[in-house]
């Protein structure tokens, strides 16, 4: 039986599934329910400084996009940090941690980018005996207009400065939550590391408009005829998050820095993928908001069963295992050749592979044979692009088959060699490192 206990920068939890700082973790009621459902930890919804409570809009806070049967694919929100009283939150955090000593309780914080503000709130949080803090440098809407959230996360110097204050004025582990609304996520990550952060968590939500109401020409979600950008998340954001996690995991300056993975995690498989790309644990929000807390049962069971099946004993056995396989385009093996193969038994003859290839790619899939409807790859045209695999509605019907050394590539009429060669040495590359004999 796989051991899925998690130790993230010294914060222990029975499993690696935490709820991200968001509406599901806004108060004791929800968090207690989450712990009863089996969640390993929570990052309490972001606390602001003492004073008049934060004000939210009273119109729609959320927007979404959907796939077939209204399956939610992407989600966005314009909700701000907690609008509850600071003291009330602190009392509840303390009580919840006392009730659930084996679960991780991390507190998200966002206060103005001033040393005194941070200095003031850190002891209050520390007093709750929470396990750590997460710095909200990601929230892209509302608070960023006031110089907080993403407005900090987008300036590496500010990130480093605030992290430094937090490490200086608190003994708690510091997790720095990064915004994806930057051109290169490695810069704020490096800054956080330089400031002394214990970990980074990413991604926060992406600047977005989910749609436009075409009846009144207003962006959605629409508040009294107007809209503003919100933070985008959910399954559709996952590929963007995976990339950013991987970039930090493989960066020479941040290599080894613990990462809490966030972004569209909906199933155990998503979680395993984040962990394979370097995340020590994961945080979930949208999936819980769509399906409720019960989904964690599937995540726990799925992750354990997969680990058992593959012989992985602990989370350390999987964390970061895919990082070394993330590389730059220039290092990809240009001598690796694949051809699409259509399993005629599985083919339902919808013809989507044909029309996709015919209209938009390489005209490599025939539509008939011996006068009959028939879809088959023509190896002399196939460049192995994978488009047909992606558009085929039948799973495993079209697969990419690698050509073995010694086999003939019908397209180039060349025999596949056993060698590895990438762009850095390719004769067409004016910047090539050394000249290889022409192919």
């Amino acid at each position: 039986m796989a051991d899925i206990r998690n130790n993230f920068v010294g914060i222990k939890s029975p499993n690696p599934f935490w709820l991200a700082s968001a509406p599901p973790t806004d108060k004791a009621y929800n968090v207690e329910r989450a712990f009863r459902a089996g969640w390993g930890g929570v990052v309490w919804k972001t606390l602001g400084e003492e004073g008049p409570p934060v004000v939210n809009v009273n119109g729609p806070r959320y927007g979404a996009i959907w796939g077939a049967d209204r399956r939610l694919l992407g989600f966005n929100n314009i909700e701000l940090i907690t609008d509850r009283d600071l003291q009330k939150n602190l009392q509840e955090i303390k009580q919840v941690k006392k009730n659930w000593p084996d679960r991780a309780v991390v507190v998200s914080i966002m206060v103005p980018c001033e040393e005194d503000a941070w200095k003031a709130i850190l002891p209050l949080v520390e007093e709750t005996e929470a396990d750590g803090i997460e710095l909200n440098f990601g929230c892209p809407h509302g608070m960023s207009e006031r110089g907080m959230g993403a407005a900090v996360g987008q300036v590496p110097e500010y990130v480093e400065m605030v992290v430094r204050w937090c490490k200086q004025y608190s003994r708690m582990p510091v997790i720095t939550k990064l915004t994806p609304n930057v051109t290169d996520v490695r810069r704020p990550a490096r800054a956080a590391k330089n400031g002394g952060t214990d970990a980074v968590s990413l991604i926060n939500t992406i600047n977005s408009i989910t749609g436009v109401d075409l009846d009144n020409f207003a962006p959605m979600p629409t508040i009294d005829g107007k809209g503003t950008h919100g933070g985008y998340c959910g399954p559709a954001a996952k590929p963007i998050a995976l990339h950013m996690v991987a970039e930090i995991a493989r960066d020479s300056e941040t290599y080894g820095l613990p990462i809490s993975g966030i972004g569209g995690i909906t199933t155990w498989r998503d979680a395993a993928e984040f962990m394979a790309l370097g995340a020590g644990n994961v945080q979930v929000c949208t999936a819980a908001m769509v399906y409720g807390f019960k989904i964690v049962e599937e995540m726990i069971s799925g992750l354990s069963n997969w680990m058992d099946e593959k012989g992985h004993r602990t989370l350390d056995d999987i964390t970061g295992r895919a990082v070394r396989n993330v590389t730059d385009w220039q290092y990809l093996n240009l001598k690796y050749l694949t051809k699409a193969r259509i399993d005629q038994e599985k083919c339902s003859s919808c013809g989507r592979c044909h029309i996709a290839c015919e209209d938009t790619s390489h005209q490599a899939i025939m539509k008939e044979k011996d006068g009959k409807r028939h879809f088959e790859v023509m190896d002399d045209e196939c460049v192995g692009c994978n488009l047909c695999v992606n558009v085929c509605p039948v799973e495993d019907c079209i697969t990419m088959i690698a050509l073995e050394p010694g086999m003939l590539d019908e397209r180039t009429r060349k025999v596949v060699g056993p060698t590895y060669a990438n762009w850095t040495t390719h004769p067409n590359n004016p910047m090539r490192k050394s000249v290889e004999p022409a192919e």
Partner: protein, 449 residues
């Protein structure tokens, strides 16, 4: 159970009032918007889609389904009506399980095709409810075309001819237009006056005059029509009914009926409780008409309804869906039985004597063994024939009017389509395709191309 069920012989009022309404309500309830969108999402938008090729009217099915999925039902309706102006009725009566849905790749892959018929109904219902019109008439050409028969073939031809700017006069023998859509299809397939609403929708393009109560051979002659119009289209259907060729058939016993007359009477009835039906009913035949008559007998409160067909299940013209429907309503279907003698007592049908049959060297022969089924009412549903006078002077083939690929008959200036032509297959959708294509041929002829 209603006490009316126990009335002996042929009697009305077998059911409670509410039961009639329930029995004859819509067979397939329409999809609501969400259901339609979920179903539309199942369509793969196939290349050179097999469903489209299986449709006699070649509706661009993947396109109209995509239009539904993008919340563009009027666009979907236009895509349908461009090919088939009777797309609303076809959505209700087409044997989709033998046509588009049988060809759907999801049928092959998982046995669950996209519900194309119901999606087509979703789009066409919306367009017709809004009276959205997609076609306008070309400038008047000054040519007039006579269309005989206001059924699916005639209406499709009339609409297309009107679109091209010709003036169309449609003649029909019955008191209402619509042909079999109005008189010949089971009531629960097209309730709420849909057939008439469709006639109104089609003719609202303008340029179509319908003259009712005019029967070819009685009130009209083909010669006269040819003289007074620039072209003639015959969509007269099949007016005759095949004989049982059973002893006692011509004795005039009360209770022996043509199934088509029963169906027509039921369709025109405004009070189903006043429509008499036997306690024990036998239907002779194996096609859609036999099923429609049997199921409706059952729904009217007949206690015991049996379809007898002289060949095996695999030879029945009725689709497997229709056969299952009949079975689910409590109709028993018996095979390998041919009628020998209609039994009567005191001038009333008392039963039918049947002979078991078998195939011997590919020929159907009686086996000599007999079976008697008691019955108060026997319906003949063994196929319709062309009435001789309607096709006077035209070359026939297999008892129906011979036409070429464009619907031209042996007589210059006369086209034909629908059930009355040899190329027909007794489907509404085929009749529509033939009417439409004949109209295009007529248009080419009239404009000298």
């Amino acid at each position: 159970m209603s006490g009316g069920m126990l009335k002996q012989g042929i009697a009305p009022g077998r059911l409670d009032a509410g039961q009639y309404a329930r029995n004859f309500s819509d067979l397939h309830p329409a999809l609501d918007k969400h259901e339609a969108h979920v179903e539309a999402d199942r369509c793969y938008f196939c290349f050179d889609a097999p469903c489209m090729n299986a449709c006699p009217t070649s509706i661009d099915i993947p396109m109209f389904i995509r239009e539904i999925s993008t919340d563009n039902p009027l666009g979907a309706a236009e895509t349908i009506f461009e090919q088939n102006i009777l797309g609303g009725m076809c959505a209700r009566v087409c044997p989709t399980e033998q046509l588009c849905e049988d060809a759907c790749v999801r049928m092959e892959a998982e046995g669950k095709p996209v519900k194309i018929g119901l999606l087509q109904r979703y789009a066409t219902d919306i367009a017709m409810a809004e009276d959205a019109q997609f076609f306008t008439r070309a400038p008047e050409t000054g040519k007039t075309v006579a269309v005989v028969g206001a059924g699916p073939a005639g209406l499709a031809a009339a609409h297309r001819l009107a679109m091209h700017g010709h003036s169309v006069v449609v003649y029909d023998a019955r008191p209402k237009a619509g042909g079999l859509n109005e008189y010949g299809i089971a009531s629960y397939k097209t309730p709420n006056g849909f057939a008439q609403a469709e006639v109104d929708y089609i003719t609202s393009i303008g340029g179509i005059e319908i003259i009712l109560g005019q029967e070819l051979g009685r009130d009209l002659t083909l010669d006269r029509l040819v003289e007074t119009h620039d072209a003639v289209f015959l969509g007269v259907g099949l007016g005759g009914v095949n004989a049982l060729r059973a002893e006692g058939e011509d004795d005039g016993a009360d209770g022996l009926h043509d199934a088509v007359d029963f169906i027509a009477e039921l369709r025109q009835s405004t009070d189903l409780s006043g429509l008499p039906v036997g306690r024990r009913v036998v239907v002779i035949g194996g096609g859609m008409t036999a099923i429609d008559a049997a199921v409706q007998s059952k729904l009217l409160g007949a206690e015991d309804v049996t379809i007898c067909y002289r060949r095996g299940q695999e030879h029945m013209n009725a689709s497997s869906f229709e056969q299952d429907l009949a079975a689910s309503k409590g109709v028993s279907i018996r095979h390998w039985l041919q009628p020998k003698r209609v039994l009567s007592v005191n001038g009333k049908v008392a039963g039918i004597e049947l002979e078991y049959t078998e195939l011997r060297d590919g020929r159907l022969v009686g086996m000599g063994h007999l079976l008697t089924l008691p019955a108060d009412q026997v319906f003949k549903a063994i196929g319709q024939t062309l009435e001789d006078e309607t096709a006077a002077g035209l070359t026939l083939s297999g008892g129906r009017i011979e036409t070429d690929a464009e619907g031209r008959t042996s007589r210059a200036g006369v086209w034909a389509g629908g059930d009355c032509v040899a190329a027909g297959d007794d489907l509404t959708v085929t009749a529509v395709a033939q009417g439409r294509d004949a109209a295009e041929s007529i248009n080419r002829y009239l404009s000298g191309n």
